[in-house]
């Protein structure tokens, strides 16, 4: 047993393998670009202004913006002024979705953004750091005739971050402020057909609630949800990828257990990478179509986080195991310095995610960014995670640099080495360079497509054929990393072939006393040593001679 499959594969086979992977890669881009619609959809809602005529505030009463039971609507607040309706009697009602449509569990999630249209008035300006207090209730129903059922009710505060871009004078009264979008609501599952939002902006002068927020003219909501078509394509892709990765994973592990020696660290890490990829792949989201699992969004984040940290750890350990200096590694604890930042960084992001999406499981209107403390806390988590990421990349770059330095050192001494050792080192160098190349390619592709999808408009038109860039980006990149893991598991699995045609190679290693330290090296890397038996055989042969 010597080396990984990649070292023993002929160039021709390797090229064929590469071409097949590229074909699958192209396929995964096509699936997203040609079949799937754009990943998300936007619905704009203008809140209707209902008048709460009942003197006693009944909490059970819901205000419908249209339809047979629609509320008493006023068009503008001048009308309210004339009718002497007060702010506390105005309810902004938004029905999601619009008439004649219904929501579907395939939408996976729904987030709603709040936008206040505030007109500038010389005597009624937005005060510095003004807080809007929003009393909001969410209800659902599943057919157009039944009663609304309350889902959530909360009183939220949002800071108004508004700019007025022209001069503040009487001339410009009536112009709108330019306000930042406010995160409003996030639902982790869309299991009902109709949703209704009733929003109030209660005023309480003594408690300073909603005083100094300017003249609110309108409330606009923006609803974002994943497109059903994209969800279906995505699920289909996951369902297809899961068994493919799983099969290679099983095959890979079987190969390793077939060997007589225990698996080395790198093999274990590759195995773990495969497991985390499978974990992401398993299409548990299918359940979200039938069940009201609001935690799916959070769960998806966690799965992604695990995979990313696994991938980053894998790169570090792969570099470390190919350092080709004389240190004994092969233990996870050696890498604590490099893996530490990954674990700590992803832990920070996990805490942040729990604070945001975790709390949203109970209160969909919660946003960590709404309060000052929350914002600072969130920023702290993100900054720490960012520092960890920088630290990690410094370590990684340094390690890669070390490997290349060692490679060039070894290169010069290669011709002088015995055949087996030369083959061994050449194998190491080839394996490293190959992975380096593939990784760089994948990373570059990810970055390039990310930039394209950010910069370009949503789609390209080719005659009648439309290419959805954003969807192609998601499916393509997802497919690419799957293929990456697939290729690594396949190519870096232990090979059954041997180095040389005869066993004489072994002799040379042992007889080459000049490099006593390197024997240790040979025993620590996965490529060469297959337990004591092989070593015994070799030493036996040496003894014979």
């Amino acid at each position: 047993m010597a080396g990984a499959i990649i070292e023993n594969m002929s160039s021709k086979k390797l090229v064929i393998f590469g071409v097949i992977l590229l074909l699958f890669q192209a396929l995964s881009f096509m699936v997203g670009g040609l079949i799937a619609p754009s990943p998300t959809s936007v619905m704009l809602y203008m809140a209707n202004k209902c008048v709460d005529t009942a003197k006693s505030h009944q909490s059970t009463k819901w205000f419908m913006p249209w339809g047979p039971n629609k509320c008493e609507i006023i068009r503008s607040f001048d009308e309210a002024m004339a009718k002497k309706i007060e702010a506390n009697n105005i309810v902004f009602a938004v029905h999601i979705p619009q008439q004649n449509m219904e929501m579907s569990p395939w939408f996976q999630f729904m987030l709603v953004i709040l936008q206040l249209d505030i007109a500038f008035k010389m005597h009624n300006q937005i005060e510095e750091g003004a807080l809007a207090t929003v009393d909001v209730a969410l209800a659902y129903r599943d057919d157009t005739l039944s009663e609304w059922t309350e889902m959530a009710h909360s009183v939220e505060q949002r800071e108004l971050k508004c700019k007025f871009n022209t001069q503040k004078n009487y001339e410009n009264e009536g112009r709108y402020y330019d306000c930042d979008l406010l995160p409003f609501m996030e639902l982790g599952s869309v299991s009902h057909k109709y949703y209704l939002l009733n929003i109030r902006l209660p005023v309480h002068e003594r408690k300073k609630i909603n005083v100094g927020i300017g003249e609110v003219k309108d409330i606009q909501l923006v609803g974002i949800h994943q497109n059903g078509g994209f969800t279906k394509v995505w699920f289909a892709m996951k369902t297809f990828l899961t068994p493919s990765i799983l099969i290679v994973l099983v095959w890979y592990w079987r190969r390793i257990t077939l060997m007589t020696r225990p698996p080395v660290l790198l093999e274990k890490v590759i195995f773990a990478l495969g497991i985390s990829m499978t974990f992401i792949n398993i299409p548990v989201e299918w359940f979200s179509v039938g069940f009201d699992w609001t935690w799916m969004l959070l769960f998806g984040d966690i799965r992604q986080g695990i995979f990313y940290s696994m991938l980053l750890s894998f790169w570090i350990i792969f570099c470390g195991e190919h350092l080709m200096d004389q240190t004994e590694r092969n233990r996870f604890s050696i890498y604590w310095k490099q893996v530490g930042p990954i674990v700590f960084g992803s832990f920070c992001l996990f805490i942040f995610d729990m604070c945001e999406r975790g709390v949203q499981l109970t209160n969909p209107f919660y946003s960590i960014w709404a309060s000052d403390v929350g914002t600072e806390l969130a920023m702290a988590f993100i900054v720490v995670a960012g520092i960890c990421a920088c630290l990690y990349f410094l370590f990684l770059c340094f390690m890669v640099f070390q490997v290349f330095r060692n490679i060039s050192g070894k290169r010069s001494s290669l011709p002088a080495m015995s055949k087996a050792r030369r083959l061994h080192y050449e194998g190491l160098i080839f394996r490293f360079k190959f992975l380096m190349l593939v990784t760089l390619f994948c990373a570059a592709m990810t970055v390039i497509f990310f930039i394209i999808s950010q910069v370009m408009e949503g789609h390209w038109q080719w005659g009648s054929q439309k290419l959805e860039l954003n969807s192609a980006f998601f499916t393509g990149i997802y497919g690419m990393w799957n293929l990456y893991v697939f290729a690594i598991m396949f190519l870096y699995a232990p090979s059954h072939k041997r180095y040389g045609d005869n066993q004489s190679g072994g002799q040379c290693i042992i007889s080459d006393t000049g490099a006593s330290g390197e024997e240790i090296q040979l025993t620590t890397t996965i490529t060469h040593v297959d337990g004591p038996t092989e070593l015994y055989k070799m030493t036996g042969k040496a003894a014979q001679e």
């Binding site: 619609p37 959809s41 609507i73 607040f77 619009q98 005023v203 995610d353």
Partner: protein, 352 residues
């Protein structure tokens, strides 16, 4: 005039201005009862009866914006006696008296056409977002079984729908081969294009932990004042045209050509006109001028709203007025102001 007159002079202003405090959406509209609709508009009205209140609302928004933009000028979009002929014949086009067209193809007329057509597109888009109409934007152009289209791939932009309504309705009468129709078509389109050009993109990131891995963007309508400002610029730089007649198999066809070759030819967003405006100093029903008599003017200003220019050199009267005003107010975000009442003395200047 195309849209604003046929609409405004009849039902729509009575709807939009007259019944200020009734909700437009609640009243069923009988298309047949609207005078002055051409058959194509009537057909449109019947098909899209749900959004006709928004069309009226749009005309109203356009008029209000026009009045705001021209508030200090000799021509200020005013109405005579609050009658329905809100713009006077300046804007009017379609009214022919014994085959004689009274309207003038001036800059002012161009502006009103553009702002009204933009207003209609704006209001329709807005009312689509309110959800009261069922025929808005979400068409079944996407894949998937009919009706399920939006579950597969979402909706198309409501903005396109608003423009479509404005185009279908406002341009319905502008199909004659004469110069005036060509001018109105260009100006109506300029209003809509300006609205579309002033839309701005807003984005929200919602990827892993809120990162921009997943980003969703949408087009947002600007404040209508922005459109008003933009159209006002276009008014100031409107292109003067000359009418050319061609003989075609249908008969005589009039087209417009830029009068001055050394200026850039008008683009999609530019206003065009081919008759010079009157100075609007004296009332003249022929040209649609109301005159500036009794308009209040600004004594200290040297601009067009100053007493010298606005009164066309006729001089002005000054009187003092005591006004009760609200002061030291506490405002709520809506509808309620608690104030003290103060009395202040003003000098009011009006043109002779």
């Amino acid at each position: 005039m195309s849209l604003s007159p046929s609409l405004s002079i009849s039902l729509f202003l009575s709807l939009a201005v007259g019944q200020q405090y009734s909700s437009l959406g609640t009243q069923p509209i009988l298309c047949g009862s609207i005078p002055g609709l051409v058959p194509k508009q009537l057909r449109f009205c019947r098909n899209y009866v749900e959004i006709m209140p928004s069309v009226a609302e749009g005309v109203k928004i356009g008029i209000q914006e026009c009045q705001h933009q021209f508030r200090g000028r000799r021509w200020n979009c005013t109405t005579i006696n609050n009658s329905l002929a809100i713009f006077g014949p300046v804007l009017d086009k379609g009214e022919r008296r014994d085959g004689f067209e009274v309207s003038k193809a001036t800059r002012e007329s161009a502006f009103v056409h553009a702002i009204a057509s933009a207003g209609v597109a704006f209001a329709v888009t807005r009312s689509c977002a309110e959800g009261s109409a069922t025929i808005c934007g979400c068409d079944a152009r996407h894949k998937g079984p009919p009706g399920e289209g939006w579950k597969w791939g979402g909706c198309s932009e409501d903005v396109e729908f608003g423009s479509m309504v404005s185009r279908e309705f406002a341009d319905a009468r502008e199909n004659r081969p004469d110069a005036r129709s060509a001018m109105n078509r260009q100006n109506n389109e300029a209003g809509r294009t300006s609205l579309n050009d002033n839309m701005f993109l807003k984005c929200k990131c919602h990827g892993l932990s809120g990162s921009c891995e997943v980003k969703t963007c949408w087009w947002s309508q600007p404040d209508f004042r922005v459109i008003g400002d933009y159209m006002k610029d276009k008014y100031d730089s409107a292109s003067e045209m000359v009418v050319e007649k061609h003989q075609e198999f249908r008969g005589w066809v009039e087209t417009l050509r830029p009068k001055y070759n050394y200026f850039k030819p008008p683009t999609d967003t530019d206003l065009v006109y081919y008759e010079t405006s009157p100075n609007f100093c004296d009332p003249n029903p022929e040209t649609g001028s109301f005159g500036t008599r009794d308009r209040s003017c600004n004594l200290t200003s040297h601009g067009i709203d100053g007493c010298d220019l606005l009164c066309c050199g006729r001089g002005h009267n000054t009187r003092t007025e005591q006004r009760k005003e609200k002061c030291n107010c506490i405002f709520h975000w809506c509808c309620y102001v608690s104030c003290q009442e103060c009395t202040r003395v003003y000098d009011v200047h009006t043109c002779k």
